[in-house]
């Protein structure tokens, strides 16, 4: 019997379902050319399918008095990758960290508004923050495997936190490593320390660790900014292959990366989402002048 964490969440007012879709909802876009799906990634996590969508509803976030995110309305659709681009300090990381409620871990930080996972407000009063984070995984800018744990233990750590029975752990670690495209590179040395891997491999290890608990949503906060171009390419390909399995949102300051991996792109400036739409449109024919100035490099 699989553990279904959403059983623990209370359902929000059912009348919400009749509200009009927010302007962040993306129309179908010209699909980015799919990289060849490796059999490794396909067989890993084969039971995972992205089905849940995330909707940010009038989300505000503050650091003390600093109003970092101002009334954001945005959706992340399953089966698509949503990229969030914008200049430094525009609030994109803050906004994404509100989705898995990491923002509130910072002393003095708070948020307002709703983050809906399907019908459930993750910021609701009765919702347990620990449960939220099991449903919404995160990969950070700098790879951060646990330094004292082996590769196996790193990937298994999330499973141990959720109390998965020991018998299942080995299989799920295997699938998660396959799903992150790392299995073939580490299968002989699962007990060596996670820090013995290269930067790109460490980041894929962190992705495997996040995927092992089979989250509904995966948030990636500038996942490639600390990596060399070869490692970056591997991870971008991986993102393309994972989007069918988990709803993905990627924060990136690299516009070309957004162009390569994302189906939908949102442009943020000064805490607001200026425009959101199919990636191709955003880069070739955006509606808002500020978007056009940003993507053509008039400011950065």
């Amino acid at each position: 019997m699989n553990y279904n964490p959403t059983d623990d969440l209370t359902v929000v007012d059912p009348e919400e379902k009749t509200m009009p879709r927010s302007p962040g909802h993306a129309e179908s876009s010209a699909p980015t050319p799919a990289p060849p799906v490796t059999s490794e990634v396909a067989s890993g996590l084969e039971e995972m399918h992205a089905t849940r969508h995330v909707r940010l509803d009038e989300l505000h976030a503050y650091y003390g008095d600093n109003h970092a995110v101002r009334g954001v309305n945005l959706s992340f659709e399953p089966g698509r990758v949503t990229a969030i681009i914008g200049p430094s300090g525009c609030g994109k990381s803050t906004m994404v960290r509100c989705v898995n409620r990491m923002h509130e871990e910072i002393p003095g930080a708070r948020s307002a508004g709703r983050v809906l996972l399907d019908d459930v407000d993750l910021h609701g009063a009765n919702v347990d923050v620990v449960t939220v984070r099991r449903l919404v995984g995160m990969v950070f800018q700098k790879p951060n495997p646990f330094p004292t744990m082996s590769i196996f233990d790193n990937v298994a750590s999330g499973l141990k936190f959720t109390g998965t029975p020991r018998g299942e752990i080995t299989d799920r670690v295997h699938f998660a490593l396959e799903g992150a495209g790392l299995w073939s590179e580490v299968e002989g040395r699962l007990s060596s320390t996670g820090m013995s891997l290269s930067g790109g491999q460490q980041q894929r290890l962190c992705i495997a660790r996040a995927l092992a608990v089979e989250p509904d949503v995966l948030l990636m906060d500038e996942p490639c900014s600390a990596l060399d171009p070869v490692a970056t390419l591997k991870i971008e390909q991986l993102i393309g292959q994972l989007k069918e399995k988990v709803t993905i949102a990627v924060v990136t300051h690299n516009m070309q990366q957004a162009g390569r991996v994302a189906d939908t792109t949102a442009f943020m400036l000064d805490g607001e989402v200026v425009e959101v739409g199919p990636t191709e449109k955003m880069f070739t024919n955006p509606d808002d002048q500020r978007t056009e100035q940003y993507v053509t490099g008039k400011f950065g």
């Binding site: 871990e105 620990v130 939220v132 950070f140 951060n144 646990f146 004292t148 999330g158 936190f161 996040a210």
Partner: protein, 300 residues
């Protein structure tokens, strides 16, 4: 008036008076710093050398295993019972001080507000600064006056000395664990406590052991806390903490007060044993601490 010489390039100018003076001052400071360092190291070398030279003659297997006899003539007896007594006293003190110290460090670092953290740190530093003789008198008044001396009271006195050492060094080491490692744990859906126990503490473990070892090394040589509390003992092997237990530092004190010159030699020998053990523990602590720094350095 025109000079017919070519104007000198400032970089190639001969050493002006100012430059010469500055160079001399620089050299003078370097030499003084070097002399100070040599003095400091020299003092340690001198202490170890003189203890070694004066004490090595009396070291023998008999010395290490026979019991002390402060009143006997000649060079009979040894420090066997004092070694056992020190082991028990410091062992009990460690059992008391280390868990409490670690928990205090975890609380202040992970769970306390900034103000509590600073207050507790301040109080620990104050406790650290209390003269050990005062601690001895305090424990005497608390546990011995009206009853009798006991090894247990001696252990409590030593534990009071050890506690701030353990707590402060564990605090320092826990603070070194990178924030991003903690975030990785939280983002996987581990509660704060679980993250602390399963991620933060194991990462900091070598450093915490180092802190505990250094506190043990300190407690091994403490004399003042034991002087009123566990100093009147029989020259037999004792291991019952409800009775006063002999200890190496107190025995050194008593030997050196004896009119017998042979006892003075034994005092030197006991001092040599003590310093050797303390040095050994300090070296082990240093190796562990270097290992921890290397591991955390990789994680940054």
């Amino acid at each position: 008036m025109e000079s017919t010489r070519k104007p000198e390039h400032p970089l190639l100018a001969a050493r002006s008076g100012n430059l010469r003076r500055r160079r001399a001052a620089n050299r003078g400071m370097e030499i003084s710093a070097w002399v100070a360092a040599v003095l400091a190291v020299g003092v340690l070398a001198l202490v170890i050398a003189s203890v070694a030279v004066k004490g090595i003659g009396s070291i023998s297997l008999d010395f290490l295993t026979k019991n002390a006899d402060p009143n006997a003539l000649g060079s009979t007896g040894g420090i066997g019972n004092a070694l056992v007594g020190t082991g028990i006293l410091v062992g009990l003190a460690t059992l008391m001080a280390v868990p409490v110290g670690i928990l205090v460090a975890i609380y202040t670092n992970e769970f306390a507000s900034a103000r509590s953290r600073n207050t507790i740190r301040y109080f620990l530093d104050l406790l650290n600064g209390v003269p050990t003789i005062v601690t001895g008198i305090f424990i005497f008044g608390l546990l011995v006056a009206g009853h009798q001396q006991s090894g247990f009271a001696g252990s409590v006195a030593l534990a009071v000395v050890m506690l701030p050492l353990v707590a402060r060094s564990c605090q320092e080491v826990l603070a070194l664990v990178p924030e991003t490692t903690k975030e990785a744990g939280l983002a996987l859906g581990a509660s704060r406590w679980r993250t602390t126990v399963s991620v933060v503490v194991p990462t900091a473990l070598s450093g915490m052991i180092t802190g505990a070892l250094l506190a043990v090394a300190r407690a091994l040589g403490e004399t003042a806390p034991l002087l009123f509390v566990s100093s009147i003992f029989a020259p037999t092997l004792a291991s019952d903490p409800s009775q006063p237990l002999p200890s190496v530092p107190v025995v050194i004190f008593q030997f050196s007060e004896s009119p017998e010159p042979a006892k003075h030699d034994q005092a030197w020998a006991a001092a040599l044993v003590l310093i050797a053990v303390v040095l050994l523990i300090s070296i082990v602590a240093r190796i562990l601490s270097a290992r921890m720094r290397r591991r955390l350095g990789a994680a940054r």
